[in-house]
């Protein structure tokens, strides 16, 4: 039994929308609306979903970059849900982040060696020389040449910048890395380099990843287990083989069917979902997917389905399973 590193239970993040004469709360964005899962040590849990499903908010809430509305986040068994910024500090070493946009997430005015060294400066008492030595080791680890350490971010390509982001995330020897769309801004050939790097590092440091992405092929490749999100909720959660072979939720089914297959001989009859994702401000009553579900029955419109174990280790939130 592998150790559970991160445990998220009934996590909710609602954003109030204020307005009107008295600036009262007028409505809420139900960005994350009751999400539970665990991440084990050395495991990659992929989170997939389309824009607005709450996957990025989920990542930021777990990192405590934004305060959760309800629920619990436990890191190595300790509840960090209500910790203040100061109390969070020691836990920040254990949990780091890689962002999507390697252009926006690196300070353009800092030398890249200082960007990567910054987390060390925040925590380590080591001397500057020791920190630079550590940075050099990190550069080698992520496949960047040491000659480029004193340069500025604009001199780097997208793929190299993402390597810098990874080096910075690794600086404090974290156990968990939350990666929010880390390869979606990259060309496919460079994307492959970054995915390989992330998998190598996982093997070397026994890292756990919460890998948030919209690209199913990428998530399939890197993840051990996958959670599918729709409008703030996890609708299906299982190991990747089960998910791709026997999807249990109609949304997962549609999502898999929508992905174009890079094989022109396999152009097939596809089921295309009609309509758009409803607004997270006014999610439909009952099952959130009922406006687009081809199988919806009466019950789906007033009763919200719970995430249930429909087969060993395979969880789905659908009344029809």
């Amino acid at each position: 039994m592998t150790e559970t590193l991160l445990e998220v239970e009934g996590l909710k993040k609602h954003f109030p929308i204020h307005g009107g004469l008295l600036n009262r709360e007028q409505a809420r964005v139900y960005a994350v609306d009751g999400v539970s899962f665990t991440v084990r040590r050395g495991e990659t849990l992929g989170i997939v979903g389309e824009s607005g499903c709450g996957k990025s908010t989920l990542g930021k809430t777990i990192l405590k970059l934004i305060e959760p509305t309800e629920g619990a986040i436990r890191l190595k068994g300790r509840d960090i849900t209500r910790l203040s910024r100061r109390e969070m500090l020691p836990h920040r070493r254990e949990m780091q982040v890689i962002f999507q946009d390697p252009y926006a997430s690196l300070n353009q005015r800092m030398r890249v060696q200082d960007i990567v060294a910054e987390p060390l400066g925040n925590f380590d008492t080591g001397s500057r020389a020791e920190r630079l030595e550590k940075v050099a080791a990190l550069f080698a680890k992520v496949g960047l040449r040491l000659e480029v350490m004193h340069r500025y971010p604009h001199e780097f390509s997208g793929g190299q910048r993402q390597r810098l982001g990874i080096a910075r995330a690794l600086a404090l020897n974290p156990e968990l890395i939350i990666a929010d769309e880390p390869v979606s801004a990259l060309d496919v050939s460079v994307q492959a380099q970054v995915i390989n790097l992330m998998m190598d590092l996982q093997g070397e440091f026994d890292l756990s990843y919460l890998f948030i992405a919209h690209d199913l092929a990428v998530v399939q490749h890197i993840s051990h287990r996958i959670g599918v999100m729709y409008l703030g909720r996890v609708v299906e959660l299982t190991d990747k083989a089960s998910l791709f072979r026997h999807p249990q939720h109609p949304y997962t089914e549609a999502l898999l069917a929508s992905v174009p297959v890079p094989d022109p001989r396999r152009r097939k009859k596809r089921t295309v979902l009609k309509g758009d994702v409803p607004s997270p401000v006014k999610p439909p009553k009952g099952c959130h997917f009922n406006t687009r579900c081809p199988y919806a029955v009466e019950r789906c419109f007033h009763e919200s389905p719970a995430l249930r174990e429909v087969a060993p280790g395979h969880w789905a939130a659908c009344h029809l399973r």
Partner: protein
Amino acid sequence: MTEAMTLSAAPPRPVPAGEPVLEVEDLRTYFDTRDGVVKAVDGLSFSLKPGEILGVVGESGCGKSITSLSIMQLVPRPPARFASGAIRFRGRDLLKLGHEEMRRIRGNEISMIFQDPMSSLNPVLTVGDQLTEAVILHQKLGKRAARDRAREMLDLVHIPEPERRLEEYPHQLSGGMRQRVMIAMALGCDPSVLIADEPTTALDVTIQAQILALMEEIRDKLKTAIILITHDLGVVAEMADRVLVMYAGRKVEEADVVELFERPQHPYTRGLMASIPRLTAAEMETAPPRLSEIPGIVPSLNALPPGCTFADRCPHVQDHCRRGYPPLEPKRPGHVAACWESHRLPEWQP
């Protein structure tokens, strides 16, 4: 509202017979910059038949978007200039047309849709205003007739409640809906060529499937020839009849879609195909294999190496590859590639 629609993607088809509607010949779009001449498009030729979908594939900076902007003559001159070439539309060279003549073709006979529908729609005009503008201008329709045409176009792209949508502003529409409006606008004058530059890149995958289905339907109904520019080989495999692969401003390979995917002749095309994550059933149970990478990055377009521009990243490179750029030659029937070493490449295993 609750039903799903099933569509059958058309199987890849042979290139339709007939005269090409668009022919690009030896197009060179150069940019004069302080750092030298950037050869964004460097000697590109291709042709397009009515009703054909030509996929143009390549990574950032390969020149695929500048190609489409060159056809539309939407590249700013200066800094850009056409160093050579011809773009023949129904026999007339667009590069020789004046501003006025080009305006009569652009948005009328050749239309374009872009990646980001939000930034290509005018935020302060209603959908109706924007849809009627082109038909009033090009087709000389009256206001009432233009309005009817706009409603018809929204119907064609399956926008529910078209009457209400005509009164709405772009921000009131979802991303998929905006792209439908863009397509409706592009089709308003019944163009014979539609250039779609990454039309689904900004969209979610279920919405992408809807838009691709729509484009296919339009090609079948209206016989529009489509240039589909994308970085996504999956989209190309599902949509294109023929595929052109670009690298560093040049065409490096072109073939029918099945031929290209089954017998890629250029190491760059192979590299692209191999780097797509794609697990087999067995690999899902065990640790996945390493993805195949293309090492390095695309060379800078103002300092291209003398020989093959892919040489520095190519696993099959030989000394002579660095001496001269390989000519684009037929490697198999209907299949051209620019590679000195293609005859020595190992058998392709998809």
